[in-house]
């Protein structure tokens, strides 16, 4: 990343089928293959009800992946996602169950504030201390874990799931899951933010060369802080929906999400080095991961075999990306 100046993908590429688009097409193709393959094994796969249910589940993953994608575009990584999810769920469920009506009505904003706070803490380490995000967010995750254990003890958190969270997570409007509608809205806004706003342009630029952005006089630090805070808010938002879906908060509920979230972003064509990727890819990536895990569980594989196949398929997708792309490492 230091001396190797990677070529910045020009925004107005004349070739319609540039590398990013190929990645997105590839992953969409993957989704279709999964659906068709699944329908061979289990005829219910192509039914509308099943697909809508998958879209609903994919929305949770997709919203959390949105935050992860922003951080990855920046060229950093956020490993504090699991306990941001768990922490938010615990805060929201216990605030909402509070006897004080003031606190219980503010449960969801409180949860989002927690996410923003965690994001700010991450950003301080990365933007001010210039620590590697990989290590700092790991330490933040450890602290969140400790705080959650201290707060809840070893018992399950008692409380109440806010009505709004349940409605957003499992409610349906005209037959379409609300969670998916929320995700679609977020997707449209994200595509606009990434393509058309100053922030979006700085984000891609930072991912390509933080040094260049700093030298250009842009407020590099502010971009880092904004990105991590946004990522924290998205993690919390996803956690609130997840809470509405599972109807309970428990320790470790966020742990199974870290790997799928990063996988969804990366197989969607976002470069883990930052500066390249688009939201449509992440969208398709989240769908792909959801379909894949659904098929593996329908086939009633033992967890171990599921892990192996899951890892192997992600590896193959990555290899296809790596081998079709131009040599960008040297």
């Amino acid at each position: 990343m230091t001396a190797t100046a990677r070529t910045v993908p020009s925004r107005k590429s004349h070739r319609w089928l540039d590398r990013d688009r190929i990645s997105v097409l590839l992953i969409m193709l993957g989704c279709i293959v999964l659906l068709l393959g699944g329908s061979l094994l289990y005829p219910g796969f192509l039914k509308l009800g099943y697909i809508l249910q998958q879209l609903q589940i994919a929305a949770f993953l997709g919203i959390i992946a949105t935050g992860a994608m922003l951080v990855i575009l920046l060229g950093e990584i956020d490993l504090s996602v699991p306990w941001t999810i768990t922490g938010t769920a615990i805060v929201v469920i216990s605030a909402s169950g509070s006897s004080n009506p003031m606190i219980s009505s503010l449960a969801i904003p409180l949860g989002l504030c927690l996410g923003a706070g965690v994001g700010l803490l991450n950003a301080v380490g990365v933007a001010v201390f210039r620590l590697p995000a990989m290590v700092w967010t790991l330490a933040v995750n450890a602290m969140l874990l400790g705080a959650a254990v201290f707060y809840t003890g070893n018992s399950r958190t008692n409380g109440e799931v806010p009505w709004l969270a349940t409605q957003a997570a499992i409610g349906r409007t005209f037959g379409i899951p609300n969670a998916f509608i929320v995700w679609l809205v977020i997707a449209v806004v994200m595509i606009w933010v990434l393509k058309r706003t100053v922030y979006g342009n700085y984000l891609y630029a930072m991912g390509n060369s933080q040094r260049a952005v700093f030298l250009a006089g842009a407020r590099a630090r502010l971009v880092i802080v904004a990105t991590f805070v946004l990522a924290g808010i998205f993690s919390s938002f996803g956690a609130i929906l997840l809470l509405g879906y599972t109807n309970q908060a428990y320790q470790g509920m966020g742990d199974p999400y870290l790997m799928p979230v990063i996988s969804a972003v990366v197989i969607g064509g976002t470069s883990i080095q930052g500066g390249r990727g688009n939201y449509v890819g992440t969208f398709a990536g989240a769908l792909f991961i959801t379909l894949l895990s659904s098929i593996l569980s329908v086939m009633q594989m033992p967890a171990a075999v599921r892990d192996i196949i899951f890892g192997a398929i992600i590896l193959i997708m990555l290899l296809v990306h790596g081998l079709t792309g131009k040599n960008e490492n040297i």
Binding site: G125, F129, Q210, D307, L315
Partner: protein, 320 residues
């Protein structure tokens, strides 16, 4: 002496922190300084120390290994099947376990080098595969390991824990490998600037494979030692080793940007981590508060290591 100190400043600071923490630990421990206490500490430290060395090799060539824990879990599980019976079969079993470790490391290396996939996502995926295989072989912790070998490797000889001796021997061997062979300095070269290394005529691809293979080898050593300490094979140990090994190398002054650091630093970082968690265990804090303080101390330690950013003259140096 001063130049030596300046050159190894990060390791020296880390070592100082370790000495202070260890002194606190001994002072706080109800049984004080005894062979028993030090042996337990050293055994735990050796496990994470080996994991940190495995992580070090990958970080040295500018990678990151999220599958280290899974390789340790897999080799640990394989060891729990093979490391008993006659001396010959134990010896053969050890070789098989080491081969498994090297194969896992090399697989990572091949995907990174020839598949041109970033190390972090490669090892994320392969980690899932290795962990899955471990879980398939042994769905629940179990198996057994030859107890005489285990006793010989986990107790103390003449007041010195065997695990400490093993760690020192491994570190000395690695020091020779990294300083006095042609390969060692070349690895540092690849880590600090791949382009320059390539222009100099180093075989970058092959060197990277060596680094990943060595990482797998040391991870297998860690896996074997886990089975010696716990006497079982446990497929669920992966996450804690992966995450702690990354924290350990950073605490020990190994730069995640590659080409900087030493195995000694990595081991010191691992020992610091282990001492912190033992310290909170005996500190008298309420048990439920301990995980939080462990995380807090880890965060403070990492942040302290980065205080150098406030001495930087030009802010340009902060952005790369």
């Amino acid at each position: 002496m001063t130049t030596w100190l300046r050159r190894n400043a990060k390791e020296a600071i880390a070592a100082l922190a370790l000495v202070v923490l260890f002194a606190c630990y001994i002072a706080i421990h109800p049984r004080g300084f005894s062979t028993y206490v030090v042996t337990i500490w050293s055994n735990q430290g050796a496990l994470l120390g080996l994991a940190a060395i495995a992580q070090f090799f990958v970080v040295l060539v500018k990678g990151i290994d999220l599958s280290v824990g899974s390789i340790i879990a897999l080799t640990n599980v394989v060891a729990s099947f093979l490391l008993n019976g006659s001396p010959a079969s134990i010896a053969l079993g050890t070789v098989v376990v080491l081969v498994v470790g090297v194969a896992c490391g090399l697989l990572n290396g091949v995907v990174v080098v020839y598949g041109r996939v970033q190390p972090i996502v490669t090892t994320l995926a392969t980690g899932g595969v290795f962990g899955g295989i471990a879980l398939l072989l042994r769905p629940t912790p179990g198996g057994s390991v030859d107890e005489t070998v285990s006793d010989a490797l986990t107790y103390a000889v003449g007041g010195i824990p065997v695990s400490a001796i093993i760690l020192v021997v491994v570190l000395l061997a690695l020091q020779v490998f990294l300083r006095w062979t042609a390969v060692g300095p070349a690895l540092y070269g690849v880590g600090s600037s791949e382009q320059s290394a390539y222009m100099t005529g180093l075989r970058v691809n092959r060197l990277k494979l060596i680094a990943y293979g060595s990482s797998g080898f040391v991870a297998a050593l860690a896996g074997i030692y886990v089975s010696m300490v716990t006497l079982t094979g446990d497929p669920n140990i992966a996450p804690s080793y992966t995450l702690n090994s990354i924290a350990a190398v950073v605490l020990g002054g190994v730069a995640l940007s590659g080409g900087v650091g030493s195995p000694v630093g990595a081991v010191i970082g691992a020992l610091i981590l282990k001492t912190i968690s033992s310290l909170t265990f005996f500190s008298g804090l309420p048990p439920l508060a301990q995980p939080f303080f462990e995380g807090l101390i880890l965060a403070i330690a990492i942040a302290l290591g980065a205080l150098g950013v406030f001495r930087v003259r030009s802010r340009l140096e902060l952005y790369r």
